[in-house]
């Protein structure tokens, strides 16, 4: 027999154990031995605050009443966790980069650090969570009563209210002790989290023990259990599709939107990698928690007397079988579920209340007095948080007192889920859609909350409790389509699904409609970009403009919030980063943003922003600043494009250089060969001149006049050849130095070509080569140095004569006008010039082979090129014409010049 005193003693011992665990964890963390305190396992177990007493006891009751439907409450979170890559990963990253302290802070920060939204979400969270806390108190007190009724000797249950009061007070004490040790809500509450992880284990072990006892101890094995399940009345329960879908959706949202879940999931998260582990480990936890629910419900229904509360089968089944140990463990499991939920919810709510209600009030009261912040803010925040915890628990207690034991309280779980789920449009819209605005979020939240209260929360108290029976059945003032449980004439739905449907859809519609039509403030847009693109740029964008020297004021304020040591260290580090030796850094935008982020970890985004704004004293960001940020990004892009272009240019230049180098190498080889060639060329005439002049000297008197004439003639010819060679060299060097003068005069291309052909002795097909001309097109007026141009033409024709290796050599001369230029092509039918040589033929001394080259020094084409350059034209080799082909281009005489 378990007496009341034993129960209380066990409870107390358990609580003491929790205190010790929390204390040790805090001590270890304080010494920096964090180790397993930050493991993924602890994180996953701490998520189990999702499973409250309502689910610990209530799931079995739910299964007994509605069959399999209870499982949706766990399937929703399972899907959300399994799909962590969609939303949770982003939420956790945002929570880290923005140092988010609560769900109200998240919404408020996203929408331009709006305090209005912070207050709204906080109020909604308090209204939605208080009944839930009351529910936990009720379940603890009721579980006491189960022991008393199961007791044959019977002990009188002490005053339920007193039990609830003691439980509430104890929880408040624990939460204040371990939940408000440090100000920075972003720092982990190691003690609390570790205690909760322990409670998670107790819950799981308790439920599994009861389940195993029921399956193997009572039913007698899996086979028998399956038979009893098939035979049980639960099998007959109707399947309700609307609730199946609706509950899955609402529980999926609840895992993010419930303040306590947000606290453990996002705020207390120490490492993003833990989320990856939790993505399968937490569903596994839920799986195990619900594995034995149906067997327990089935056995409970068949073994317990009719009329006993199915919510407490977890306790009454082991008790009725005389297993007091198991019942005790199960009682502790339920107690753990209740306490862990209350503790975390109280911490989350107190953070919200102090950051979004107390601090703004205090700030506005402050700003009326002194200009800067005074007093010890740190203590103020902590105190306000402690009072908030006590306040929240007191609210829960009074709620329990007022509605205690009523049916209303049992249903509050899902009603509360639906209430807090109203933040979902604003939350999801905020992290995935940059167009979401503060106005849309605020109106959507309010509308959704009002509809929720009207259609679900208030009617849940029953007719004539808050809403009159007439209002419930007829609608306000007899307007039928406004009936709370059949809004807009949509009756016949399950009230919960009905409320969920209308509140969330009206909420979302308002949110989207107002977001689409409004224009957000610059700060909103800045925050929106940072939230939505959190994975793209984790560095903060600028939120402040450069200010004058208020660093000292900022330090004074920061000291009061962060504490003197932390604040001084922060400022000192910032100053060092800026390369300054003093304690006061320049108030650069970067520094201000950093400081604001640090402060918001303690007092929330909106308050931190307001405090800095008060000192810096101007609006933080303008559209121009946003544009500047965008410009910087654009400049980066531009710069990288420029780099790319530069590197392309460099590789192009390198290619050119390589080509030039190849050309130079080849030229140098050619020059060497030419030098030997030219010395040979010079030597040949010199040798004959010397030989014949010797003959003349030695035998001058004996020679006949004919011989004399012949020999001196040879000497003369050779001397002329030498002179011509030297002339060419001279000519070229003169032209290259630009010392040549151009005697421009009018001329006609045809007559020039005629002259050139005649000069080369090829007229009328009498020469070695046949020349084909197109005289009609040659009628082009020129204003140029006709002598020089003829020289080029003669050179080209002579070359063809010399080098064309066809059996019947031909040279085609074509002229074509295009634009202001005329192009004259000289194309022979020989074998042409090999590609590798095409690049060098215009160089000095270039000669392709010794073949047919007698008397040529390889200067002709070089001279031609120089001439054409002087005449404003060009000469180039034209590949692919079936023979050697040169193109001469030069400007046509303009009308004005021709007229001169």
């Amino acid at each position: 027999m378990i007496s009341f005193d034993v129960l209380v003693a066990v409870c107390l011992a358990y609580v003491v154990l929790l205190f010790i665990v929390a204390f040790i964890a805090e001590r270890r963390a304080g010494k920096g031995q964090i180790g397993w305190l930050r493991s993924p396992l602890i994180y996953t177990l701490s998520l189990s605050v999702y499973c409250t007493a309502w689910t610990f006891y209530g799931a079995v009751g739910y299964a007994a009443r509605s069959g399999l439907e209870f499982v949706t409450i766990y399937l929703g979170p399972t899907l959300m966790l399994v799909g962590w890559w969609w939303a949770l990963r982003k939420l956790v990253r945002i929570g880290k980069t923005q140092r988010i302290t609560s769900i109200a802070d998240l919404i408020s920060s996203r929408y331009g650090k709006s305090n209005l939204l912070g207050v709204l979400v906080t109020l909604m969270a308090v209204i939605g969570t208080t009944p839930y806390i009351a529910l936990q108190l009720q379940s603890v007190t009721l579980s006491f009563s189960v022991f008393s009724t199961a007791n044959s000797r019977g002990w009188d249950l002490p005053d339920q209210n007193a039990t609830a009061l003691w439980v509430a007070a104890g929880l408040a004490l624990f939460t204040v002790l371990f939940g408000t040790r440090n100000l920075d809500a972003n720092e982990r509450h190691h003690g609390v989290v570790t205690a909760i992880a322990l409670e998670a284990v107790v819950k799981l072990v308790a439920l599994l023990t009861v389940g195993i006892f029921v399956v193997w101890g009572v039913a007698g094995g899996i086979g028998e259990m399956a038979e009893r399940i098939a035979a049980s009345p639960i099998a007959e329960t109707a399947f309700r599709p609307g609730r199946w879908v609706g509950l899955m959706a609402i529980s999926a949202m609840a895992i993010i939107a419930l303040p306590r879940m947000f606290q453990v999931l996002v705020v207390e998260n120490a490492d993003e990698h833990h989320l990856a582990t939790a993505s399968w480990a937490f569903p596994l936890y839920l799986f195990l928690m619900s594995l034995f629910v149906v067997p327990i419900a089935v056995i409970g229904l068949s073994t317990q007397p009719a009329g006993s509360n199915p919510d407490f089968f977890v306790l009454s089944v082991p008790l009725s079988h005389g297993r007091e140990g198991i019942a005790m463990l199960s009682f502790l499991g339920g107690f753990s579920s209740a306490t862990s939920m209350v503790i975390v919810a109280a911490i989350a709510l107190s953070t919200m209340v102090s950051n979004h209600i107390v601090m703004p009030l205090w700030l506005s009261w402050q700003s009326k007095g002194a200009a800067s912040v005074s007093g010890d803010v740190r203590n103020l925040v902590l105190r306000s948080r402690r009072f908030s915890i006590a306040g929240v628990l007191a609210l829960g207690y009074f709620y329990f007192r007022i509605t205690g034991g009523s049916e209303a309280l049992a249903k509050i779980g899902l009603i509360s889920f639906t209430g807090v789920a109203q933040v979902m449009p604003a939350l999801l819209g905020g992290i995935f859609w940059r167009g979401a605005t503060r106005r849309g979020a605020a109106v959507g939240l309010v509308l959704g909350f009002v509809v929720w209260a009207y259609t679900l929360f208030l009617p849940s108290f029953g007719p004539d409790a808050i809403m009159s029976a007439a209002l419930l059945s007829e609608g306000p003032f007899g307007i039928g389509w406004l009936r709370p449980e059949a809004l807009f004439g949509v009756g016949g739905m399950d009230p919960l699904v009905h409320a969920m449907f209308w509140s969330l859809s009206l909420n979302a519609f308002a949110f989207f409609a107002l977001s689409l039509t409004g224009f957000p403030s610059p700060l909103e847009r800045l925050q929106g970009a940072q939230f939505v693109n959190v994975f793209e740029h984790s560095a903060a964008a600028r939120g402040w403009t450069q200010g004058a020297a208020e660093a000292e004021d900022l330090l004074v304020m920061s000291q009061r919030i962060l504490g003197p040591d932390e604040a001084q260290q922060l400022f000192h580090q910032a100053a060092e980063k800026q390369g300054k030796k003093s304690f006061l850094p320049d108030t650069t935008p970067d520094f201000l943003a950093h400081l604001e982020r640090e402060l918001s970890g303690s007092v929330g985004g909106a308050t931190a922003h307001a405090m800095i704004g008060q000192i810096v004293g101007r609006s933080s960001v303008s559209v121009e600043d946003l544009m500047a940020v965008a410009d910087e990004t654009a400049q980066m892009l531009e710069y990288s494009n420029q780099l790319e272009a530069k590197s392309e240019e460099l590789s192009r230049t390198a290619r050119q250089l390589r080509e030039a180098n190849d050309k130079l190498t080849e030229l140098s080889i050619q020059k060497d060969t030419f030098l030997s060639q030219v010395s040979h060329e010079l030597r040949t005439p010199m040798t004959s001149i010397r030989a014949f002049s010797e003959i003349l000297m030695e035998g001058g008197s004996e020679m006949s006049p004919e011989e004399l004439t012949r020999y001196s003639g040879i000497i003369h010819e050779e001397a002329i050849r030498l002179t011509r060679l030297l002339d060419d060299l001279l000519d070229l060097s003169v032209m290259e130095n630009g010392q040549v003068t151009i005697n421009a005069q009018d001329g006609n291309l045809r007559s020039l070509l005629d002259r050139a052909v005649a000069a080369t002795g090829s007229l009328d097909g009498r020469g070695r080569i046949r020349i084909l001309r197109d005289k009609m097109h040659e009628d082009v007026a020129l204003y140029t140095d006709t002598d020089r141009l003829s020289q080029v033409f003669i050179n080209l024709i002579t070359n063809a004569q010399k080098y064309c290796d066809a059996s019947v050599p031909e040279l085609r001369i074509r002229a074509r006008r295009s634009g202001g230029m005329v192009a004259i092509d000289f194309i022979d039918n020989g074998s042409g010039i090999p590609e590798k040589s095409q690049a060098v033929i215009f160089e000095k001394f270039a000669r392709l082979s010794d073949r047919n080259s007698a008397g040529s020094a390889g200067l002709g084409l070089a001279i031609c090129r120089e001439i054409m350059a002087r005449l404003g034209g060009d000469i180039s080799y034209l590949p692919g014409q079936g023979g050697a082909a040169f193109r001469v281009t030069l400007p046509v005489a303009e009308a004005a010049k021709a007229a001169e």
Partner: protein, 99 residues
């Protein structure tokens, strides 16, 4: 002009990392689809036995957990590989106080 830093094609390791994230996105949708199957049974009119439904739901649940577990392993391996390939230390999501 292509945006800088966004290659069109990826190496094998990065490619499979991308596919792993695709799978991670897809898994909950598959789970949702299968968890909604009871609705179709209902439309069918033929009531399934409670035991059968229990086995279906819990079996599916277990498979989903297993799938999530395997995917997480693959994702973290891929992430480590990517980080190592990029020559930076594996980020443990510590403080993001850098400005």
């Amino acid at each position: 002009m292509k945006p800088p830093g966004r290659p069109l094609f990826l190496a094998r390791r990065n490619y499979s990392a991308r596919r792993a994230t695709d799978a991670a996105r897809l898994l909950p949708l598959v789970g949702l689809f299968l968890f909604l199957m009871p609705l179709l049974w209902q439309a069918d009119g033929g009531a399934r036995s409670l035991t059968g439904q229990l086995i279906y739901i819990f079996g599916l649940w277990a498979l989903l957990i297993l799938g999530a577990f395997l995917l997480t392993k693959r994702l973290s391996r891929a992430a480590d590989g990517q980080d190592a390939a990029a020559g930076r230390p594996v980020s443990t999501g510590g403080s993001d106080d850098q400005l």
